[in-house]
Amino acid sequence: MTTDIISNDDKPAAASDEDAAASVHPAETDAKNKGSESNENEAQTQPSVSDESAQELDHQSAPVIELDDLCVNFDKPVLDHLSAEMHGHCIGLLGPNGAGKTTLLNTLLGFNRPSSGKASILGHELSSDKGFVRSMVGYMPERDSFITGMTGICFVRMMAELSGLSSRVALERAHEVFFYVGLGEARYRNIESYSLGMKQLVKLAQAIVHGPRLLFLDEPTNGLDPPARARMLQVIREIRDSSDTHIVVASHLLQDIESCCDEVLVLKDGRIAKYCNLEEERRSNRQFLLMQIQGNENEFVAGLRNLGCEVALPNRRRIKAIIPDGVEVHQLYALAEQLSVQIRNLDYKRDSLEDIFLRAMDEDVEYER
């Protein structure tokens, strides 16, 4: 039994993907073994399994989050026919204020009942496995959330016990997680006396104390000063890199998402504007070249356009060009030689998340699965 939330960095690397796929999460298995229990209001149900290991293999290969025509209405549609399969290790939820990020998180946590459609987490459908799904997730809310009259350690321990850990293990992990997030020295202080940054960290501590398989972080850097923000992002990256925990970060701060996430879901007016793998998007997207030339600029620009490039002149003597497929950089040098133009400088400019986001906001094209 593993009780430590923290392990030695020098420990051998995590098991291979094949091993991971073949293994069954013990906590999950244990919860499954407890059989099914139904509740008419909110499900505490555990799936009844006939062939547990086969089913678990299916769950291992299942998307982290799967949305199937998901709609949520509060008087008006807030989430409008969302369909996506997310497989990333750390998924960013981006969107302007009111785009539906928090509503999507709340729906995935089972707080909202979908008007139509389905949502699954790690292969478990929310409508039928809500109780079980909740035993697999950790949630850090956007707003200040705590229980009054408790010390930090008592609060986090209680949260761990509510997630199903025994009292002793919960206390042990609460201590460890406090040190892990950097609040070790403040763990016996009353939560009400914590600063805003400390409250954010204690919210993170309660979200990870039970070692969830999926971690929902809603605006984790809200209200943090630059050092605290950097620390928070560092902790998120460490969790991402050091375990098989998947993370979903909802934020409107592009830098936060860019520094942590490998996949991004961009929401706009309750719809999916874009879902992409950041690295692939950067690589495969249209390639920008930024050139500085000396010579006949007009002729060179005309030549570039003849090659099929889109050209913009943001500054004098600087040319921004988008190279179409099939055109190679050496053709630009050949053109320059032909026109007696010197290319003094040539930079590749890859799409930043900001470019991707702004394009998703501008394009009124709905993402298609």
Partner: protein
Amino acid sequence: MAIFQKAYQGYSGPLSPPFERTLVIFRYALADVFQSRLFVAFFFISLLLPVLLMCAIYVYHNLELLLQFEVSLDDLTEINGNAFVLAMQIPQNSLLFLMILGIGPTMISPDLRNNAMPLYLSRPINKASYIFGKLLVLIFLGSLISWVPALLLFILQAYLAGDSWLGQNLHLPVASILTSLTWIVSLSLVAFAVSAFVKWKSVARMFFFGIVLLGSILGGVIEEVFGGVGGYVVNLYAALEVLMAALYNADSDVLSFVPQMSVGIAVLQFLIISLLALVLLTRRIRAFQVVS
């Protein structure tokens, strides 16, 4: 090993069964209640009454002591349902009301005020477990100052008085348990409902006090003006008196005033008020607020 050399790792140990999560809420809420010195003082003072009554029962059955005090057996009241209602149940009802007034309205509001519901409900527990966990605190503490000492008194009396007394008064423990639990549960749910709507502790207490007190006054006024039992529908204490009279087989002159209401209606009244409070409570306890 230094803590900074360690890294995050998930948990893969066993998980507790779902019902234990309810007990976690109960345990932490109970600890929170006992942080108040005022409550601790109240709790121990409320245990003095059964101790005194225990001494009284001992003296009642000790002829030597009675002779020393020059008290004749004829001067003493018979220990039966009437005595239990007068000496135990009626004072306990007041103690229970005071206890629930003190801690009931403050049990839910801090969680709502500090946005703690998403933390509870994002875990494998539901609203019912949360409410039941909190309710268990009041049931547990209420039982310790009501039917548990009453049961001990009953056992002592039965031991000292003999089998014939026991045979004649076997209904007393059942009456004590049912009356106390009905009173505790219904008052607690009303207190929780108030707590869910009023964020400030003292205002919530006043509100709860007002609901119970004004209910009694309003019930009396309606009864005076319109007659019948309609007025008692909003008067919880009237329903409790009906229940006590029926369960204890108490004489009509023991209870100051027993409304002309059937036990069924009294039970129905408790059920309706409890269900109403429960519905309000469950509607109020949400993981998030919808702003439309």
